[in-house]
Symmetry: C2
Subunit: 192 residues, 2 copies
């Protein structure tokens, strides 16, 4: 997706150790025009899989997942890291290691909103080691729903997450792939 790739090259910064700062447009400040385009591009790619629900994890997944949900007009669920007082039903729970924060987080989804009849499309901001996405996949498994696809806005190819997900047998789409960092320089793959 050229618009996104151009933005990453313009406003993204490699902070070292493979960490990409994109908080100028993705996960602290958000460019809503870019985010809407991201939603529409995922919708175009995933419309054939006929998702009945979009699933993401708080916090940074919410914006792109909402953009996809708006474009497909399908409900969105964001997994919570803490049980709020309003989560009154049983919850599906999975643990995931957090790459950028350190330590483990728990992801919870109320059993009220993820049903075994559902066809679930997972959307997140990054596909890196795939630890968060793998936890979301397990949450779908717990519910008995069918996973129909995985979308990530930015993929860091060098962290190998895609290999972890290939066995799922569903389409995996990312809109910009980072092959590597050469010190300050962000090297994007040609495709996508």
């Amino acid at each position: 997706m050229q618009l996104l790739k151009d933005r990453i090259l313009r406003d993204g910064k490699h902070l070292g150790r493979g960490i990409l700062k994109v908080d100028a447009f993705m996960n602290h400040q958000i460019d809503p025009v870019l985010m809407k385009s991201i939603g529409e591009e995922f919708a175009r790619r995933f419309r054939p899989v006929q998702a009945s629900r979009i699933l993401t994890a708080e916090t940074s997944g919410i914006a792109p997942a909402l953009a996809v949900a708006m474009a497909l007009e399908v409900p969105l669920i964001f997994a919570r890291k803490h049980r709020p007082v309003t989560m009154t039903a049983d919850a599906f729970r999975e643990r995931a290691e957090s790459h950028t924060k350190g330590g483990e987080v728990e992801l919870l989804v109320s059993s009220e909103y993820l049903l075994k009849e559902d066809r679930v499309l997972i959307v997140d901001d990054f596909l890196a080691t795939a630890k968060t996405i793998s936890a979301l996949v397990k949450l779908v498994g717990q519910s008995g729903a069918v996973l129909v696809g995985v979308g990530a806005v930015i993929e860091k190819a060098f962290e190998g997450g895609r290999r972890m997900l290939d066995g799922l047998g569903v389409p995996i789409e990312s809109l910009a792939v980072i092959e590597r960092f050469d010190d300050d320089r962000i090297v994007l793959a040609d495709a996508n």
Copy 2:
């Protein structure tokens, strides 16, 4: 906003002690069609104040604030509760009591994205005691930017938050006002 009021009456649940469960469409599962309409309604009401940035707090504020940002085509910033490794600049910080979680949270906004030239519209999911919104107002003050309005999707009139904000001299808009709960019954105000 009738669409929202109907939805609150249909899917909202009073859990006791003034706590409203709206996680079927607002803050765990999100109805993207409703959320888009919420964004458009806020945009209609706030277009005259000419905001240059929308400000909210993670997590539950992100969806309505993004919907407003998309409708107005103005960048959104969500205050973070923890400093991520990608927040490399100085941050504006304020503490706020959390009503539904208990305890205090800190809200952080990078000084890179809230500028003294900005005209800031605050958008959040709830206006209850106004503790979160007041912390966001103080963040705007720290940056030297001008506050131009406050929008909340649902207002709980009986918690008195509006009185805390009246002295700001900016328009305060909510799209559904809960007057009180009669046990299980949600009593909405006629206006909005």
